[in-house]
Amino acid sequence: MNAPARLAVVGFALALAGALATAVLDLPAAAVDLPAAVAENLSTSGVEHPVTAVLLNFRGYDTLLEIAVLLLALLGMLAVAKPEAVAPEPSAADPMLRFLASVAVPLMILAAGYLLWAGAHRPGGAFQAGAVLAAAAVLLHLAGRLPAWASPSRMLRLGLVGGFLIFLAVAAALLAQGALLRYPPAHAGALILLIEAGLTLSLGLILAGLFLVLARRPASPRAGVGEEGKS
């Protein structure tokens, strides 16, 4: 791109930022008060933590589709991953890392369980718990205990898609209540916990998969990284 064009882009970005800032600065209060509506309906949502209530009940449909987005990213990655570029077998890692993994991973699984359970009452929930599980899987991989994934087995595929299928099945079954994902207040807590448990496992596997599908042989030396940038 030539210099005038680059300058035009920078100018446009600055003008946009200026206009947005101006518009935001003299903004009256919003007409609709959703926090009040959330607070009002929290008692029938099945959970006590408002963010979890929005995520899995009031706007649970967004979350359902979002899990599909994650699955899709993994599908796309599996489609383009080159089998020969993925390390098929875990490599030998240094003993210190192995020891660290064997201590940390059980603790991380415990932490994930806690986060899952805590999500109903306070910050936490399936996403954070799944992220911790994924981190445990990545650590196991780095410690040489878990191979990278070139083509997942049927069991692994079931784990990846299982949480989504549970969510979808619950959403569809609740059509009998009159609408997609319409939890009966008496069972909302139990159903949300069921969905979250499935999601925690599947999210852990999918998020780990985003890393493990890409993971390459750790052998390649990173020579020359420091000398980059003299363009």
């Binding site: 911790v132 890409l214 980059e228 363009s231």
Partner: protein
């Protein structure tokens, strides 16, 4: 006082974001981006959004950072930098 802290944090966010795009070294850019993610987690905590803070630290900074660092190995070494 607390608003002064917020203002400092905002400046740090902007600075790390700028460096992650403008620094010529790709590795340093990724490191700056991870720093940016951690600062974002702090900002979420300041905004009374602990759920996002947890997710940002674990997913935004952690997982994305790991992915980027791993990718650096794949194509970082074969190329020079980029003009900001």
């Amino acid at each position: 006082m607390s608003l002064a802290f917020d203002a400092l944090l905002a400046l740090a966010l902007l600075w790390s974001a700028w460096r992650s795009l403008a620094t010529p070294d790709l590795t340093r850019a990724v490191v700056m981006f991870i720093v940016f993610g951690l600062l974002m987690a702090l900002a979420w905590a300041r905004l009374d959004a602990p759920d996002i803070a947890l997710a940002e630290a674990a997913i935004g900074a952690g997982l994305t950072g790991a992915l980027l660092l791993d990718a650096l190995g794949a194509f970082g070494e074969r190329r020079g930098g980029d003009r900001p």
